[in-house]
Amino acid sequence: MPLGLSWPGDNQLKLTPNLSATFHAYVHIPFCAVRCGYCDFNTYTSKELRGVSQAEFHIPLIQEVNLSKKLLAQWEIPARKLTTIFFGGGTPSMFEASQISQILDSLSEYFGFTDGIEITLEANPEGLDHLKLEELKAAGVNRISLGVQSFDQKVLDVLDRIHSKDKVIAAVKQARELGLRVSVDLIYGAPGETLESWKRTLEQAIELGVEHVSAYSLIIEEGTAIARKIARGELAEVDEDLNADKYLLTEELLGKAGLKNYEVSNWGNPSLHNQAYWQSQDWWGYGPGAHGHISGARFWNQKHPATYTAALEKGSPAAGFEYLDERTQLEERLLLMLRTSQGVPRSLFRELGVPTELVANAIASGLLELAANDQIKATLSGRLLVDGLVLDFLSKSQA
């Protein structure tokens, strides 16, 4: 959990409503069949649940929807319809479709949906069959984000993933036949994965004909099983130079397949929900450990499902919050938007006090470029170094 202030007992935040912001919901489903060796997300297998019932867990989530409606009114944030909803996890496909349906019904009842609302659900291939997909569609889900990770069995073994290639192909086919938008998540850079192996994974992902691909380089998080295996020398260390090559290959192959990059790790028909994060729109994060952002305040829930439920009973599941001052909001905008194909307005550098010669140098060395409408964006090589660039700009800015 990030440091911040502890959540006020009276649930009162002082906010200046951002009237132009759209409104979004993230729903965290903190359950997994097994914990994958690389994963440090906030998720729990049945053994770790301390008495929380997965089959009943939609009930506290709906209770939080109810609470959010009340609090937004209390903070004098004008009511808006939801533009996107994202079920993340964990493994949301472990929920029964009826549970998803009940949550969506409550969101619809309390907030309403805009026309063309995007409702995404993360799923693992092994949890999806035709019937489940039909039920999810009937519940309102219109976009599936499928955790494929790799088509190389050796890589899947290293990542502790249990599905087979055939299962993926079938799930994608069925989802597309039902008219669902489909995205696949891929992971590159697992210990032992060669450039060749990654190339085959990309090619097979392209063959699926999906409209969207997210490709993430594997991050070895402290405390995970994979980190321990690397420390013991059982697995090779991640080679970031090789990952750079894999990234360039990803850009090349997905680009050829007509999937255009729109953020460091995302290609294809953009996810409106993810864009909302980068544009600092308003969103509520429902469920254990979920983060929300409303008009310059960020807040987050208790992490464990059991503590979350207990806190919710007492009034609010929130654990802490922070107000983002103007400077921080500007810094976050640079941090987030420079990752996107849209880039940032040229004026943002001036507002942040970034020395002009730094920006000029980055343009001269081909990391940034001038784009239409007075925007500045990262080039392909700049995208690979964007964290270092932002750090450089912000640590040398004259605020």
Partner: protein, 617 residues
């Protein structure tokens, strides 16, 4: 505890026969400050309620490191066989860097308590101080401390002490500064054996300065020992080395807080305040007399402090340069041995070349600058003073490798030291090997008792200023101890090794080394820099060169990927916290040309620790 002497003697009216001046000689960690604490309590001048550990050590750094940098004198009342005495305990610095200060403190005493850890035995530095005490004709009282420790071997070390200073092992007192056992007996013994001071009460006043410290409220506080005559408040006093005259605003004794008195007379120890703001106005070893009735002859033993080790000190942020100057000016007020002058480095910008008494002194000063003045600094690798004669016969004094003359060199002279190493006999081979690699020549080797050996070596100072002591400690599991004294100059076959980043010479990384070691040195330093400098957005070649000849090269490859994959809802604040942390890290980086070099690279690059080989670049 209640004081044994119910009424302390009045300063300025105390007969010399009722005064005892003594100091405690001990190695770091042998428990001197703790013993002093017990004496303060036992004599009743600090109540149990006010007691705190290491009462007399004033600076934070002193307390943290357990070393006494500034000596101080405390007047303790004590009764022995019905007579009340004024005991002046003069605290001495315990480190080799401060030998001169030690010798002046010793000169203020008639007796010395030789305090030795009963679990460890005597150490080389203690031996050096013991030697100084003997040279000053002090009465030595051998004492074994920490007898409460399970590992204490008082019999064994009493034997060792007796063989060093003569006398019987039974004469060696056994105390515990921690529990207080034996401390009263020690005070009795001091009264009984340390001679009373002798001086001429009617002669012109002569007082020896054995310490001076800067107090931000009072200005300079000068500690003196009266030899002849008397000093009174409001008198005009004169420093015999500079002839400077000051008015004596306050005179007094420390008990253990300053108490002003009607004066100081023969044999007494106390402090003077004149309102002077700069400690260089009252130099350790100088003689204080009065303007009205000046003494004709100064006391012996005064000398100017002489820096042995030089290092360039630079602010990481160039705009801190004026603050660094101000900080040094302030530190100099309290440390007369600190010398510095402005210096410019092509790589590091504006800074100061500073001279130090030794490595510990360097460390203490840089730490104080960073801590007390909130500066982020780079201290370049320590260097010694070379005398370089070029082909046309002109001589250059080189305190900084970047001043090393170009062109043909006729001769280079480097400073030498005589080092004394004490160690258990098992490590003799290892130590000899180490000294050999550091270009040492053995002077002699001598057994002290059954299993302890004293080795004496002549070594180039440059070889020991860097990490000789650390290596000695690690190669002997911490058992060996070291002391050294300067020993003139000798010719050395030396060359300058330069370091180039992206083809540009970085003067801060230049060093002067023995010709036979130049290649190994260049290779090692290039490899270390490759390890220490993070990958940049462009390739950075590193080269080591002697003159125009490249002797080693390494490359830091450009970083190719520096971006986190995921950045969604909950990742954003995590990412921002990481960014804040990284921003702090950036402040510890110095731009050398376009290359970001971490602060620690400037010192660690030149240490002899082997570079790690497993790290991928």
């Amino acid at each position: 505890m209640s004081p044994r002497a119910l009424k302390a003697l009045v300063p300025s009216q105390t007969a010399p026969s009722q005064i005892r001046n003594f100091c405690i000689i001990a190695h770091i960690d042998h428990g001197k400050s703790t013993l002093a604490d017990r004496m303060l309590q036992l004599t009743g001048i600090v109540s149990d309620r006010d007691m705190r550990a290491q009462y007399l050590d004033r600076m934070d750094i002193e307390r943290e490191r357990g070393i006494t940098i500034k000596s101080q004198a405390v007047r303790l009342p004590w009764e022995f066989e019905g007579v009340t005495y004024a005991m002046n305990m003069i605290d001495t610095p315990g480190h080799v860097d401060f030998n001169y200060e030690v010798s002046r403190s010793l000169a203020a005493c008639e007796g010395a308590v030789l305090l030795v850890d009963a679990a460890q035995g005597i150490e080389a530095q203690t031996l050096a101080n013991l030697y100084l005490a003997m040279e000053n004709d002090l009465q030595i009282i051998p004492v074994l401390n920490k007898i409460d420790l399970p590992a204490a071997q008082p019999e064994k070390y009493a034997e060792e002490l007796a063989s060093l200073i003569g006398g019987n092992p039974e004469d060696c007192l056994r105390v515990s500064g921690k529990t207080g056992v034996g401390v009263a007996e020690l005070l009795d013994k001091i009264v009984g054996t340390v001679p009373a001071p002798v001086g001429d009460a009617n002669a012109p006043a002569r007082a020896m300065i054995f310490d001076s410290v800067y107090d931000s409220y009072r200005g300079v506080v000068t500690y003196v020992r009266m030899i002849d005559g008397t000093l009174h408040p409001r008198e005009q006093i004169q420093m015999m080395s500079t002839k400077a005259v000051h008015e004596l605003l306050e005179i007094g004794v420390i008990a253990p807080e300053p108490e002003s008195t009607q004066g100081l007379s023969v044999g007494e120890v106390g402090y003077l305040i004149t309102g002077v703001k700069d400690v260089r106005q009252s130099k350790v070893g100088d003689t204080v007399t009065t303007k009205l009735k000046p003494a004709t002859e100064a006391l012996k033993g005064y000398s100017e402090p002489k820096p042995m080790v030089f290092s360039g000190i630079y602010p990481i942020d160039g705009s801190d340069y004026p603050n660094l100057r101000e900080a040094l000016d302030k530190l100099r007020l309290s440390d007369a041995s600190l010398v510095y002058e402005p210096e410019t480095s092509a790589a590091l910008g504006f800074g100061f070349r500073c001279g130090f008494l030794g490595l510990l002194h360097l460390e203490i000063i840089t730490e104080r600058l960073e801590r007390e003045f909130n500066l982020s600094l780079i201290a370049t690798s320590p260097s010694v003073v070379y005398k370089v004669t070029v082909d046309d016969g002109s001589q250059h004094i080189v305190t900084n490798p970047s001043e090393y003359p170009e062109g043909k060199i006729r001769e280079v002279q480097e400073p030498m030291v005589k080092a004394t190493i004490l160690s258990p006999k098992d490590y003799v081979g290892t130590i000899m090997e180490l000294c050999q690699t550091k270009r040492g020549n053995m002077i002699d080797m001598q057994y002290l008792g059954e299993d302890r050996v004293q080795l004496r070596y002549k070594l180039p100072l440059a070889e020991i200023v860097f990490d000789f002591f650390d290596q000695l400690k690690s190669k002997t599991q911490g058992y060996a101890s070291l002391d050294y004294e300067e020993d003139g100059y000798a010719e050395g076959d030396l060359v300058k090794v330069d370091l180039l980043l992206q083809g540009e010479k970085v003067d801060a990384f230049s060093s002067i080394v023995h010709k036979d070691k130049a290649y190994a040195h260049g290779t090692r330093i290039a490899a270390k820099l490759r390890e220490l400098i993070p990958r940049q957005q462009f390739e950075v070649p590193i080269q080591a060169a002697v003159g125009a000849r490249i002797i080693a090269r390494e490359t830091i490859r450009a970083i190719r990927k520096d971006v986190l994959a995921k950045c969604y809802g909950g990742d954003i604040s995590r990412k921002r916290k990481l960014l804040e942390k990284q921003k702090e890290g950036k402040k510890r980086m110095k731009m050398v040309g376009r290359v970001e070099v971490p602060q620690e690279a400037f010192i660690s690059a030149l240490s002899t620790e082997e570079p790690k080989t497993d790290k991928k670049k």
